[in-house]
Symmetry: C2
Subunit: 479 residues, 2 copies
């Protein structure tokens, strides 16, 4: 099903009409709307998970957990709206004695207006209709129009219906959440004059095309895309010697989780040469299950991606997981010199349960290969207390948005401090779709100079200002 131009226009008009209501809703009201959406998802979890499982084959356990993450996100953003720091309230009192005299300035952030959200194949809840982009756009005070993912159309429709109904029942205006379907409608959405910003999670190709449309508008809009990531992991010789088997099992569990379809999947692992890690991984992967991939396109792309890697003379397949329905886990190897020489070939993200072990024989070899790694969401270091990993860390932290120690990158805690982003092609922007600062992407500053108090937005009037975190004359104050 494809949304027509007239249908999109109607949705956009409704969103534009709803925008002032969202923007001007007080914190308690807006937070209650977010919580109503979360409560409705919880109330419909059985029905929604059943549809999601039919469409994505991700399994009930994973999908129930993902609903929990999704409702948790909505509730965390509700808390952030109530806490009020996200408004970045800043007041400088007038100073008539300054030369020139300084006026009173009162600054707040305010919603940008209707936001387009493109849902992801691999997270039918947490990065889709009611996912992090939608939750943060609503929290910032903006209606949302979601482009449904073709991999889960019925779930998209049903989720949108459940959430839209919950929002209006809680008192939010019609037009708070719309849904469009079809690639052409998605392209039209990001170019629609009433849309003020877009959030996206998906492939480099799809994200780049939409980024170019957003940037190419007569009035460019910000396009916050999360595209592709190989998530480099570095294992030191000491870590391997101390806990090789545990690391091999951890790696296999992480790269096969969700049938290797997480954006934070460890796709390239730098390991000391000739230290036996390949054998440990081979043993660990032997019993690992694959599974059905999300869509026909991803199913077709998986063997193509492996064939593309295998065509490189340095690459060998060293182990496979259990043969069963769908994609079989695969472990490949190459060497650091080849990675440094041919990063475009060897460091392209391959969606699905595959990882590439990269042998290094010296720190110099390791660093040269690491420098060739493209921007990623995460970078992981497994080291021991005696290791000097400063040089590795210095390279990694320029490449990624999250640096992990002694863990695995899959599993992204949704918290105040979380950052899900990284240099291109991990993301198109400095900001993130996970963690509380995601709201900032959908806010713009406005400052009021010498305004009569009754014309100020309520949060900028002295009495409400005093109840919220704010900065006055340069001093940050917490009530």
């Amino acid at each position: 099903m494809t949304t027509t131009t007239a249908e999109l226009d109607a949705l956009a008009d409704a969103a534009a009409a709803a925008a002032p209501v969202w923007r001007e809703a007080d914190a308690a009201t807006r937070a209650s709307w977010l919580r109503a959406a979360a409560d409705a998802l919880d109330a419909h979890i059985d029905e929604l998970v059943a549809i999601a499982d039919e469409e994505t084959r991700l399994g009930e356990t994973r999908l129930r957990g993902e609903v929990g993450r999704t409702t948790g996100q909505l509730r965390l953003f509700a808390t952030a709206v109530e806490e009020g720091s996200y408004l970045e309230l800043t007041v400088d009192d007038a100073d008539p004695s300054a030369v020139p005299p300084r006026p009173e300035l009162r600054r707040t952030l305010t919603g940008v207006g209707p936001v387009a959200v493109f849902s992801a194949s691999n997270f039918p809840f947490a990065f889709s209709v009611a996912g992090g982009d939608t939750a943060s756009a609503l929290a910032a005070g903006n209606p949302v129009i979601v482009k449904a993912h073709s991999g889960h159309p019925r779930l998209s429709q049903r989720t949108a219906a459940v959430v839209a109904e919950a929002l209006t029942s809680a008192g939010a205006p019609e037009g708070s959440l719309g849904l469009v379907e079809g690639r052409e409608a998605g392209n039209a959405l990001v170019q629609h004059p009433l849309i003020q910003a877009a959030g996206f999670t998906g492939s480099v190709g799809g994200g780049r095309a939409l980024f170019d449309l957003a940037s190419g508008r007569p009035d460019p809009i910000p396009f916050y895309g999360e595209l592709g990531s190989v998530n480099p992991v570095v294992i030191t010789a000491a870590a391997l010697a101390a806990r090789g088997e545990v690391l091999a099992e951890g790696l296999v569990a992480s790269f096969t989780l969700g049938v290797g379809q997480f954006c934070t999947k460890p796709g390239v692992v730098f390991v000391p040469a000739d230290a036996g890690f390949e054998q440990l991984v081979a043993a660990a992967v032997a019993g690992a299950k694959g599974g059905a991939l999300l869509t026909d396109r991803i199913t077709a792309g998986f063997p193509e991606g492996i064939a593309h890697l295998e065509a490189d003379p340095s690459v060998a397949i060293i182990a496979r997981g259990e043969d069963g329905i769908g994609a079989q886990p695969v472990v490949l190897t190459t060497d650091a010199a080849s990675v440094a020489a041919r990063p475009e070939t060897l460091l392209e993200e391959c969606f699905g349960p595959v990882t590439l072990l990269v042998r290094y024989s010296s720190d110099d070899e390791l660093l040269a290969a690491l420098r060739a790694v493209p921007g990623s969401l995460t970078g992981t270091i497994h080291s021991e207390a005696g290791d000097d990993v400063n040089a590795v860390l210095a390279v990694l932290e320029r490449k990624v948005g999250r640096v992990l120690f002694a863990g695995w990158p899959t599993g992204v805690a949704v918290t105040w401090s979380q950052h899900h982003g990284g240099p291109w092609p991990a993301t198109t922007s400095l900001h993130t779709s996970v963690g509380v600062t995601a709201v900032r992407r959908f806010l713009r500053p406005v400052v009021f100079q010498d305004a009569p108090a009754h014309l100020l937005p309520p949060q900028l009037r002295d009495e409400e200002l005093a109840r919220l975190p704010h900065r006055r004359n340069g001093v940050l104050r917490v009530p």
Copy 2:
């Protein structure tokens, strides 16, 4: 003079080499570098102002004031670096009891890397080599390469030499501040692989071309441009009746300030029809001086812009200022219905001492015309206590970044709360080149998961964290 490709590469390499030093410098050190730059500008003010006056004809008084603003900006950013909020330090402690167990996450902002800054014709100091973009990029911990404006090449060279020398004398690395000249070098600069972000102040045409180059890179970078703004002003009938003469004099002083070459010049003024404001403005402008415009291009563009407006059948020239050297101040009129019908013609920014009075006969006419106004830096309301300006304010605050009451938009206080921005075409981005949050444009988040304390950036270790504003487990804390 044009910078060659080899010269640009050398500057970019030097900036990239300097980047880690800037990024890792502690707050006191980085602040001292900014203050050293400010001190050096003060020490060389006579020499610099003399060159600037020869090249821009802006006059000594204005130029000395602008140096003061420029050094004030550098010192304000130094204060902000020391205060530390700009790092947005956020820590969530580990929670092993959570399902799944939550790791420790520590988040900071960090410099993006070398920044390109395009200087402006109309602010040879405050928006040029050592202006707001440069100051905020340095404060964020990034080296800068400036594209000199062709309107003041000698000043650009000399300012860059003074500041670069001050920085290195204060201990900053070579490569902290570079300078390129020539349009081709500017285009190459924004596309250079080592450049991570760009700041720009200039025309819509020039800004759009550079924005497209930045967005079209294989790895797009953020382009923070301030382009064009007509800065609408609304005068109510009551305000006009109460203080018409003062308003006319204030308007003339504001639109002729700096020979009408401020980005915040009031370019379009909505006035009650048949209430005598035109006559008051005509009287006020009669004695107003024009002056030489900044560049040959602006000099040629001024009569072209007026002719373009005058070609509209609704437009009449109603008054002119003194005839003298350079551009003569001009006041035009039209009506609100024509503005609503032909905004592309009537609401195009015209650089120089010209303003357009727009007669309105009803609130509906006023609101319809206001809705046609393009995004602007500022919007101004002159009203009396009894006026209901809510509808006007609701339209204006969606169009502009700063709403003023009972003042004039020229003159931009540099403070914590200031915002210099607005929807396209006022700016290409949500952020601003004036005010402390300008630093955020040149920072990116990085989060450390379960990192050993000695591998964390110092500001994320418990002892230093406690001395800085930070959020821990959701609670904002000020030391």
